[in-house]
Structures are given as structure tokens and as C-alpha cells.
């Protein structure tokens, strides 16, 4: 009870269903949130995820829909309040800056009338007082008050945005809801609005709910962040934590789609589309697009659960799953009398669906580590866990949906005297997976995935007659045929010419995006690593010297060696 009374706004299990369409659409599904005075909350999500409906719901503006749950504003429940009572809260207490559009302001009324009229009905001021306030507020948002006699069609997009802001702040509300403030604004206007919101909040000390699909914009202004998907909150946490380490695959996908965070990486959106409106959803709504969905995900809807302090995630797997974990890996080679420490206590973690680059100079122990992870080499010390289970006796590599490695040298990785078809389906033959016909079919699909022909002639060709690029593709197809959840790619393009390298890399990343497997990408080519990786591990003389998000590491390397490495590599590119 005490916690509730300190909060300005408390939304409790709010559901909003639109009844105007059949079947009814549940646009907001069981959302709870809390906002203290002067606090900022961000809501992110793709278009149509229910963010705006949530905002309208808080304003009590839902037409043709039913609202369930509670919206407590200063301990008063706004849900079910009759319109003539609710009216006194609107704008005076809770105001909204609507998404900018041509139609958002009444075309036949002047700016002054539209900005000032709430004062007339909420604060009962005289026309003169209203005029003064309007002038003052317009000045505050940086719009020349001379514009107040203008009509909306005479304003530019940026000016309209300011009018909307002035209108929202005219009664000095305690809570400001800002809906997509940056739509259709250029970078300069965007910055203006950003600074305005920041400064005005300092002056007026209102709480703010910021709704946007512009993750970068939201993250700069808010302290708490909610990710919404299909009307449901899927992640809730402190903005800085969420940005650094998203725990839901969807949040991570949103971050990965934002060019502001990853300056060099290729942009890859979240694959698939949100489920169609009104489709009754039984399981986790994100499951069809999720890279770690399992059978259980389709059975019931996950609820928000605490996974860490101030961090809640709605996921049956408790957030992004850790696929591979390596602890204290050590490996010595004996060359004659001398013992060379190839890997000196390396720790590594790969989570579902992410591309981790392991970079370092040649001979830094990258490949050795990779081979240990895959179980090609035994480790001297330390252990490797795949999905939480210690890797022994190759159990993780001899299963469907396990872990696979693709080697550096395509010529030695595939037998020159075997036919393409036999090479590709070999893992299935060994695992004795289903019937021959189905194995052949799977092989065909795997070959198509890597864009190799599936004509009988090609299937019966011997590997020795293939080019290096083709053989590497065959090797990738062989790895993919087991539908792995983790692929370790060890310098797979280093022996190819640039064009083949580009093709194979793009295709592999495309496959990764489509199938959602995690990938450990080992390379000494930093340019390539920068293009594909979400996370980076830097290895130097058998040790991991630096690790983190690629957006941070490539921007601001910390370790001396990393700095030097990047300087060498990116010197030519400036």
C-alpha cells in the first residue's frame, strides 16, 4: 500500500480489447507498470504492438473497446470513471503529445485557440490570461508566438510538433505521454525535440511515458524501459541494463535493427511477421519468430517473471538462453621438450541467436579454443557446457539441433572421393536419422539453403571436381543438415577469394537470421567481424583480453592490445 501511494501512476493488469472488428482484437494484454513522480518510462516495440493503444487507454480514449484492469492515478482508479469525471483528469493531470500528423490539429481553428482552450475549461482563466499563458508556453517550446494566429496547415512539420508539445504542457500536467515524437522528423529537428523534452522536464518536473519504435531516442530519455510485443510486455527493466544486455530475444532483435547502435554491422531485422490480428494465441506470441523456441513455448503464454534485480522477462526459457558456456579452458601443446600454452584459462559464453566473433592475431589460440569447444580437441583443464550440460563424448555434436563446427580448410573437410549428396547427408547416415528418402530430401534442402544446385548431375559429382567455394558450401550444408542451434565457424572464408568470401559470409549470416542459430565466428579479419557480430571476444596469446557488445568494443576498445589490433586493422580505412 505504501509503495502504491508513492507512485504517480500504477497500471495493474490492464487489458484492452477492440470489439469493433470480428473477431475482437486484444490490443493490450495484461500490462502492469508503475511510474513515480518525475520518472521517465519508455515503451518500445514494432508498429502495431499496442503501444499507442496503451497510451490511449491511460488517457481513457478507447472507442469501441473494453478495458479491463486498473489504472490508478494518485490512487484513483480511472477505469470505469464516467466521462464527465474523467474529463477533469485529462490534460490537467495527464496530457499527451500525439504522434505528429497533418490531421492531428483541427484545420479550421487557430493555433492559439487549440493550445489555449484547455485553460478555459480546466483552469477557468480569462481570455487575457489565456493569451499570456499561450505566448509563454509557445516561447518555452521554442516557437515564435507570432505563429499563434496561424492555422495548422500553415505550419511545417517541426513547428506542428512544437505546437503539439505546447498544447500538451499548457496546463502543466503531472504526467506527459509522448507518442512517437520523432516520426517524420529530420535529424536536426529530432535533436531539438530531444533537448526540449529534456530541458522542459527539468523545469516542470513532470513524469513522462515515452512511446516510440525509435529505440535510440527512447533510451536516451528514459530510466525504465518496457518492450511490448503483441500487446504484451515481454521485457521490463532499467533502460541502461536492457540496452547493455537484452534478456528477451525480441528486445535484442529490436536493438539489432537500430542503425544508431551498430554503426558498422549489417542491419538484420527480426525475421518473420507479428501474428495476424485477432488470431487466438495460445502460446508465447513470439515463438514463431524466436530463435530458441521449443515445443513447450506453444502451449501457454509466458508471464513476466523476475530474472534479475529490477528485470522481468516474459519467456518460458527465462530470457535469452545460454547455449554454450566454457569455463577456464586451458590447453598446452608439447613441441618436443617445450610446452606451448595455446589457451590460458579462457571463459566464453554464447547465447541463443547471437553471432559472437572471436578475433585475434594468427596464433593467438582462437582455433584451438574453437576445436576444444566443439570437442575436436580435449581440454587440459576447464569444461564446456552446451545448454547447461557438460560436453563429453561428442553428445552435443551427434544430435539433431546440437552444435556443429565448420572448418577452415574446405579441401580437407570434405573427402575428395565422395559424391556431394553422400557428403552432405553423412551426419544423418551416421545418426541413422529416419529413412534414406528423407535423408536425401534433407540434403537437397540443405544444399538449396547454401545456394548450390540440386540437379542429379551435381548431386553425383565428386568433391574433387568442385571449386574451393563450392566445397566450403558443401561443408556448410553438411553442418546445417542437423539443424544445429550453434554453429562454430572457424576461419571459414580465409582460403577463399574476396568475392567468394563475401558471398559465403552473407549467406551464412542470412541463414543465421532465418534459422536463428547462434554462431561463433572465428576470424582474424576484423572488418568481417565488425560486419556480422553482435558480440566480440578479443584473444591475445591464449587469453581473452576483452569482451563485450560489438557496438561498444569497436567504438571504444579498452585493452591495450585491442586498441593496437584495431589501429593496425582499420588504419587504411581511417
Amino acid at each position: 500500500m505504501t509503495a502504491e501511494s508513492t507512485s504517480l501512476l500504477l497500471v495493474n493488469e490492464l487489458s484492452i480489447t477492440y470489439n469493433g472488428v470480428s473477431p475482437p482484437v486484444k490490443a493490450v494484454n495484461n500490462i502492469s507498470l508503475k511510474l513515480k513522480k518525475g520518472e521517465n518510462l519508455g515503451i518500445i516495440g514494432e508498429s502495431g504492438c499496442g503501444k499507442s493503444t496503451l497510451a490511449l487507454g491511460i488517457m481513457g480514449l478507447i472507442k469501441n473497446g473494453s478495458v479491463k484492469g486498473n489504472i490508478l492515478y494518485k490512487d484513483l482508479n480511472l477505469v470505469g470513471l464516467p466521462d464527465d469525471k474523467l474529463r477533469h483528469y485529462r490534460w490537467k493531470e495527464i496530457a499527451m503529445m500525439f504522434q505528429n500528423s497533418l490531421d492531428i490539429l483541427n484545420p479550421v481553428l487557430t493555433v492559439e485557440e487549440q493550445v489555449g482552450e484547455p485553460l478555459r475549461f480546466h483552469c477557468h482563466l480569462t481570455p487575457q490570461e489565456i493569451d499570456e499563458r499561450v505566448v509563454h508556453t509557445l516561447e518555452m517550446v521554442g516557437l515564435d508566438p507570432a505563429w499563434r494566429t496561424a492555422y495548422p496547415h500553415q505550419l511545417s512539420g517541426g513547428m506542428r510538433q512544437r505546437v503539439l508539445l505546447a498544447m500538451a504542457l499548457i496546463c502543466e500536467p503531472e504526467l506527459l505521454i509522448v507518442d512517437e515524437p520523432t516520426t517524420a522528423l529530420d535529424a536536426a529537428s529530432k535533436n531539438d525535440i530531444f533537448e526540449l523534452l529534456q530541458n522542459l522536464q527539468k523545469q516542470l518536473n513532470f513524469a513522462m511515458i515515452l512511446i516510440s519504435h525509435d529505440v535510440a531516442f527512447v533510451s536516451q530519455l528514459t530510466s525504465m524501459l518496457i518492450t511490448m510485443y503483441c500487446g504484451q510486455a515481454v521485457e521490463y527493466g532499467r533502460t541502461s541494463d536492457v540496452l547493455k544486455n537484452p534478456m528477451h530475444c525480441y528486445t535484442r532483435g529490436l536493438l539489432n535493427s537500430s542503425p544508431q547502435f551498430f554503426k558498422y554491422k549489417d542491419l538484420w531485422g527480426i525475421s518473420g511477421e507479428p501474428p495476424g490480428e485477432g488470431a487466438p494465441l495460445k502460446g508465447c506470441p513470439f515463438a514463431p519468430r524466436c530463435c530458441q523456441s521449443a515445443e513447450g513455448c506453444g502451449k501457454s503464454r509466458p508471464q513476466l517473471r523476475y530474472v534479475a534485480l529490477e528485470r522481468r522477462v516474459a519467456c518460458h526459457k527465462g530470457g535469452i538462453e545460454t547455449f554454450l558456456k566454457a569455463e577456464g579452458i586451458k590447453k598446452n601443446y608439447r613441441v618436443g621438450e617445450k610446452s606451448i600454452e595455446a589457451v590460458r584459462g579462457a571463459d566464453l559464453e554464447i547465447r541463443s541467436g547471437e553471432v559472437v566473433a572471436l578475433v585475434g592475431e594468427s596464433g593467438s589460440g582462437k582455433s584451438t579454443l574453437a576445436h576444444i569447444l566443439a570437442g575436436v580437441l580435449p581440454a587440459d583443464e576447464g569444461s564446456v557446457f552446451f545448454r547447461g550440460k557438460k560436453v563429453e563424448n561428442h553428445w552435443a555434436t551427434k544430435m539433431i539441433g546440437g552444435m556443429q563446427i565448420i572448418f577452415q580448410d574446405p579441401f580437407s573437410a570434405t573427402s575428395h572421393r565422395m559424391q556431394v549428396l553422400d557428403v552432405v547427408k553423412e551426419p544423418l547416415e551416421i545418426m541413422k536419422w529416419k529413412s534414406t528418402a528423407e535423408r536425401n530430401k534433407a540434403a537437397g534442402e540443405a544444399l538449396q539453403a547454401v545456394r548450390l544446385p540440386v540437379t542429379p548431375e551435381f548431386l553425383q559429382r565428386y568433391c574433387y571436381s568442385l571449386s574451393g567455394g563450392q566445397r566450403q558450401r558443401v561443408a556448410i550444408a553438411r553442418a546445417l543438415i542437423t539443424r544445429p542451434n550453434l554453429v562454430i565457424a572457424d576461419e571459414i572464408t580465409s582460403m577463399l577469394d574476396p568475392s567468394n568470401q563475401a558471398n559465403i559470409l552473407r549467406e551464412l549470416k542470412g541463414l543465421q537470421n532465418r534459422f536463428g542459430f547462434a554462431m561463433l565466428y572465428i576470424t582474424h579479419e576484423l572488418h568481417l567481424a565488425r560486419k556480422v557480430s553482435d558480440k566480440v571476444y578479443v584473444m591475445h596469446r591464449g587469453e581473452i583480453v576483452e569482451k563485450g557488445s560489438s557496438s561498444v568494443i569497436f567504438e571504444k576498445p579498452e585493452h591495450f592490445f585491442t586498441k593496437q589490433l584495431f589501429k593496425e586493422a582499420f588504419r587504411s580505412s581511417g
Partner: protein, 327 residues
């Protein structure tokens, strides 16, 4: 803004010129002798015996013995001085006859415009407000049915049911002839009593269009983003509906009110004849019957200029209430 108004003025001037020229050319474009062709084929032959004398008069009257361009300038000059010719049948100047009848028609048309617009807009907005409720459905069905029946057919049935059948209204005319009115009120009542059915016929058949437009317009406005803004601001219901919604919803209706005058005048001509109302419509029918061409032309000219004037007025009014136009 002023530039645009000027442009519109020029356009109207051109239109009036076209109408006048058409009026001038028509009798001259008829192949052969127009008066010969027209004398024999009417249904009521016994009434029009266009004598040789009349024919001569007409021929001379139209100046058909002079070169066409000269005739044209004479015609324009006469028109400019307000001379629309001389009626053969009524033996009076056309302008005199037309101006004598014009007030009745204007009275009828204006009353039905005002009535149909008021009622149509109110019902239309009401319907939009109660959209998909039974009131809306009933009104909609009722309105589309009546909006499709031409006004003179509606007038006929009103006449036979309410005037001839039930005897509630007079059968014909605009005032009771030879009546001795005690007061102005009594006379006004008599005039209204006579005008009720014709105005009702025109209004009802015109109502549907305004209603549909009002309903459509209001429905569109109610779904606009700026209306949601207005609700969000916590304004009183009255303020949202009358200041924010209605002002926008009225814009297309205003245009229509004036633009529909043309078709309303057409309806009025017929309705007047149904009720033998002494306006321009009955005058037109009489003139057609006796083939008094100067009168027909005069009526046409006056009606057209009136309608054009109304259109121009519509432009001005629209500019006044919609800030988006003309800037």
C-alpha cells in the same frame, strides 16, 4: 487570395457571356424558319394560331433581316439596359413579367434550401452520432428512398392526397384571390398555407442529399485524429461537438447548399406547375404553350444569373469559413 477571387469573377463573367450568347444564337441556329416549324406540331393546336402578322412581328423583332454581328450588338446593348424583349402573348416587356413572378420562385426555392439544409444537417449529424444504431438505420433507409423521388412526382402525390383528397391545403395558387385580409398576419398565414405543399415537396426531395452528405461528413470528421485530440484535452462534450466537429463537418454542406441551387431551380419549375404556383415555372409553361420565346429566354437568363450569383456567394462564404482555401 484577392487574385483568386478575381480569377473566379472572370470565370463567372465568361459563363454569363456564354449563356447570353447561347440565348442570342439559339433562335438563329434553328435550321429553316423556326417560327414555321414550331407553329404546327404542338399538342394544343387550337390555342396557338401564329398569324402571319405575328410571324412578321417576330421576324422583325429578332432583327433577322440584319447581319448577325449587328443583331448581336443590338441584343447585347438592349440587354445591358435591362431590356429583355417584349412578350407577344402578354403584351408586356419581358423584364416586367419576369420580375413580377420572380419573388414567388425565390421565396419557394430559398425556403426549401434553408429548410432542407437545416433539417438535413441536423438529422445527418444525429445519424452519424448514432451510427449503426436503429435510429440511424431507419433514417438512412427513409432518406435514400425519398431522395430518389423527383420533386414534382412527390408534389403530385402530396397535392392529390393532402389537397384534393383530405382538403387540408388549397389546390392551387399562392394567395386566396379576392380575399379580404383583416391583418398582415392573416395574409402571411394565407401565403404560408398556399406555399406549404410546394415547399414541402421541394424540401423533402432535397432533404435526402443534404442528410446523406451531413451524415457522411460528420462520420468522417468523428473519426479524424483531431477529434481524438479534442477529446483527450478533456473539453466538455458540447465544445467538442459544436466547435471542433461541426465546424469541419459543415464545410462540404455549405458548398453543396449553393451548388445544388441549380438542380433545385429545375425542380421548382416543375413543382410550381404541379401546384399552379405563380412563379417563373408556371410562367415558363404558359410561354412554352403559347410559344412566347422572348419570355422563355428571359426566364432562362434571369434564373441562370441568379444561380451563378449563388455560386459566387458560395465561393466567398467557403473562403470565409475554411482557412485552408486561398492561402
Amino acid at each position: 487570395m484577392r487574385q483568386k477571387t478575381r480569377m473566379r469573377l472572370i470565370e463567372y463573367a465568361i459563363t454569363i457571356w456564354v449563356v447570353i450568347t447561347l440565348n442570342f444564337l439559339l433562335p438563329r441556329l434553328i435550321p429553316g424558319d423556326p417560327f414555321l416549324v414550331l407553329t404546327s406540331q404542338s399538342a394544343e393546336d387550337e390555342e396557338i394560331v401564329l398569324s402571319e402578322e405575328q410571324r412578321e412581328f417576330l421576324f422583325h423583332y429578332y432583327g433577322l433581316d440584319q447581319p448577325v454581328y449587328k443583331q448581336y450588338f443590338i441584343y447585347l446593348g438592349e440587354l445591358f439596359r435591362g431590356n429583355m424583349g417584349f412578350s407577344v402573348y402578354y403584351k408586356q416587356p419581358v423584364s416586367h413579367i419576369v420580375m413580377h413572378r420572380l419573388p414567388w420562385t425565390v421565396f419557394m426555392v430559398l425556403s426549401s434550401v434553408i429548410l432542407s439544409t437545416l433539417i438535413g444537417t441536423i438529422l445527418g449529424c444525429f445519424s452519424a452520432w448514432r451510427r449503426e444504431k436503429w435510429v440511424d438505420k431507419f433514417l438512412f433507409l427513409f432518406m435514400i428512398f425519398f431522395s430518389e423521388i423527383p420533386s414534382f412526382l412527390l408534389g403530385l402525390i402530396l397535392l392529390f392526397v393532402f389537397a384534393a383528397g383530405l382538403g387540408l391545403f388549397p389546390l392551387a395558387g399562392a394567395v386566396t384571390h379576392f380575399a379580404d385580409f383583416q391583418s398582415g398576419w392573416e395574409k402571411a398565414w394565407d401565403v404560408l398555407h398556399h406555399a406549404f405543399l410546394p415547399i414541402a415537396a421541394l424540401t423533402i426531395s432535397h432533404l435526402g442529399g443534404t442528410y446523406l452528405l451531413g451524415r457522411n461528413s460528420m462520420t468522417t470528421v468523428l473519426e479524424k485524429d483531431y477529434l481524438r485530440t479534442a477529446w483527450a484535452k478533456g473539453l466538455p462534450k458540447k465544445r467538442v461537438i459544436f466547435r471542433h466537429a461541426l465546424k469541419n463537418a459543415l464545410l462540404p454542406i455549405v458548398t453543396r447548399v449553393f451548388l445544388s441551387l441549380g438542380s433545385l431551380v429545375g425542380g421548382a419549375i416543375l413543382v410550381e406547375n404541379v401546384f399552379s404556383y405563380p412563379g417563373l415555372g408556371t410562367l415558363m409553361r404558359e410561354s412554352v404553350r403559347v410559344q412566347d420565346y422572348p419570355v422563355i429566354q428571359g426566364i432562362f437568363l434571369v434564373v441562370t444569373v441568379c444561380v451563378l450569383l449563388a455560386n459566387f456567394l458560395a465561393d466567398v462564404v467557403y473562403r470565409k469559413i475554411d482557412p485552408r482555401v486561398g492561402s
